[in-house]
């Protein structure tokens, strides 16, 4: 259960103000969608949450403590591209989070530890519908499968917050709705806090519990440089989505395969 608080965040590149005065509290278990026109700084904001960029001023608190200034395990991420390691198999891609966590210097697990890790990884792969493909390399997977794999990989490390940077932007519409359904299931299942950047409004409202729109208030050419984007709209999505799975089941392997998910209506 993790709450993220952004306090008076400003971000400037040289003279260019990108973001100004962002105050935002992301409640535990919420699914926040960041939307806005391109160049409005939504990806910059995500990068600051990730620790890849530092705010020029202001602070980001996670459960009351300042965020580490570099990416770390407490914030998982799925990018639009290059989300999985091309040199590892599907199973290897999911395992590697556990290996980084538990294996230290050697970076590999052996014996019972490895067996347990493989079991967990297989459960996650089943949840994202990739059980049939665990020995394939990512290059042999379609775009949608790669993104599902990236989700499983990120969840394996049990991050406190999951950050998504236009994760479904490059997918075909049919595949996209399938992955949307899966994303919702996983979010309900794990009770995880999610922040997603997207330029697709319907995606934002379909997946999010809260939609934050960033916008530049002043856009006249002579002012544009000195005024950054700020939160223009903060919308609670109606009807509210339950942030616990109704059945109360907490076993991820109980999820139906993704192919069935696609056929079910969401709400």
């Amino acid at each position: 259960m993790t709450t993220v608080v952004l306090e008076k965040i400003w971000k400037e590149y040289g003279d260019q103000v990108v973001l100004e005065n962002i105050d935002l509290t992301i409640e535990s278990g919420s699914f926040v969608a960041l939307v806005g026109p391109s160049g409005c700084g939504k990806t910059t904001l995500l990068k600051m949450l990730l620790g890849e960029e530092k705010p020029t001023s202001g602070s980001i608190l996670m459960d009351g403590t300042p965020l580490k200034p570099e990416p770390d395990w407490d914030r998982g991420v799925v990018f639009q591209r290059y989300s999985v390691f091309p040199h590892l198999t599907v199973l290897g891609n999911v395992l590697i989070g556990r290996e980084f966590e538990k294996a230290g210097f050697v970076g590999r697990l052996f014996g019972d530890n490895r067996k347990a890790a493989i079991e967990d990884a297989r459960a996650l792969l089943a949840a994202v519908g990739l059980s049939q493909h665990e020995n394939k390399y990512p290059a042999a997977l379609s775009g949608g499968m790669q993104q599902r794999l990236a989700l499983a990989q990120a969840l394996m490390r049990r991050p406190k917050v999951l950050l998504l940077d236009e994760p479904f932007g490059a997918l075909d519409p049919g595949i996209r709705s399938e992955v949307h359904a899966l994303m919702t299931e996983l979010w309900l299942e794990q009770g995880i806090t999610v922040v997603m950047v997207t330029h697709d409004l319907s995606e934002a409202f379909r997946l999010g519990t809260r939609v934050i729109a960033l916008e530049r208030r002043r856009n006249r050419p002579e002012e544009a440089e000195r005024y950054g984007s700020t939160i223009a709209h903060d919308i609670e999505v109606w009807p509210p989505k339950p942030n616990k799975k109704p059945s109360g089941s907490a076993v991820i392997s109980a999820l139906p395969p993704a192919s069935e998910l696609a056929a079910q209506p969401l709400n």
């Binding site: 990416p71 914030r75 980084f100 210097f105 970076g107």
Partner: protein, 272 residues
């Protein structure tokens, strides 16, 4: 149909591929025959039999002075030199290249120096090497090292920098330490690129090997070629050149196969 859209079938492909080789061999044999029929003592274009006889002497008859089979000892010593030189180059290129490509502090320390160093024409270093390390094996190995290491180091460092930033961030979000990222993400992704770098570096490596052997050596393939040149022994020079080419080709094939087998996920032709 435009010619760019017309593809030769399999048989025609191999026929076309073999054509220049066959044409060159035929031209040589005809020329050789023509010259020898006018002057049987002609040394410029020896016949296959003459080359065979000369090579038989070198391959299967022990040398009177040293008691060794010259062709094989030449091959052995040359391969040993190029192996040591390239081995050293690869080791340094991999360690420093990964460090320079991945760790900003090391990059600042290493890259400007290596860029400057790589501009020194290696062959001009040879006299310096002779003076410092002497005329024996070390100077030849050092020349190959000086000639190939900077280029390979830069290739490795660039290969590391070319790994998409997203993957490095991703590894960090999975909790990887710098060491874990090097062993589990960077090295596996850079090794196939290293093999490509080795394949490219082998070409200058052979040049430097033969140069060093030609200038100061008492054995080796390059030494033999430049020795018998004084007697215009084309019957030895030509087979030696052919043999060096064959060795270089075999090394290249081996590395290409290794890259394909060991890194099935790697697609070198894929544009980034």
């Amino acid at each position: 149909m435009r010619i760019i859209n017309r593809h030769p079938n399999r048989v025609l492909y191999y026929f076309l591929a073999a054509l220049p080789f066959v044409a060159l061999a035929a031209a040589y044999l005809l020329g050789s025959q023509a010259r020898l029929s006018i002057n049987p003592a002609d040394k410029l274009l020896p016949s296959l039999t003459q080359m065979g006889n000369a090579m038989y002497e070198l391959m299967f008859v022990p040398d009177k002075r040293t008691g060794t089979y010259l062709f094989w000892s030449d091959t052995g010593i040359s391969l040993w030199r190029i192996g040591c030189g390239m081995g050293l180059s690869v080791a340094v290129a991999l360690v420093l290249g990964v460090a320079a490509g991945f760790i900003p502090w090391v990059r600042a320390l290493v890259q400007p120096f290596v860029s400057a160093f790589s501009l020194i024409p290696p062959i001009t270093v040879l006299p310096i090497l002779f003076i410092i390390v002497g005329l024996d094996e070390a100077s030849k190995i050092a020349l190959i090292f000086v000639g190939t290491a900077p280029v390979m180091l830069r290739a490795v460092a660039l290969g590391v920098e070319d790994i998409p930033r997203e993957l490095i961030i991703k590894a960090q979000t999975l909790g990887a330490s710098t060491w874990q990222m090097i062993t589990r993400v960077v090295l596996p992704q850079v090794l196939p690129k290293l093999i490509t770098a080795i394949r490219f570096a082998l070409i200058p490596a052979w040049i430097f090997l033969v140069s060093a052997e030609a200038i100061a050596a008492v054995s080796g393939l390059g030494y033999r070629i430049f020795l018998v040149r004084r007697f215009m022994s084309m019957d030895v020079i030509l087979p030696y050149v052919f043999w060096i080419t064959l060795l270089a080709w075999m090394m290249d094939m081996f590395l290409a196969q290794l890259q394909k087998r060991a890194f099935p996920w790697f697609q070198p032709e894929k544009a980034s």
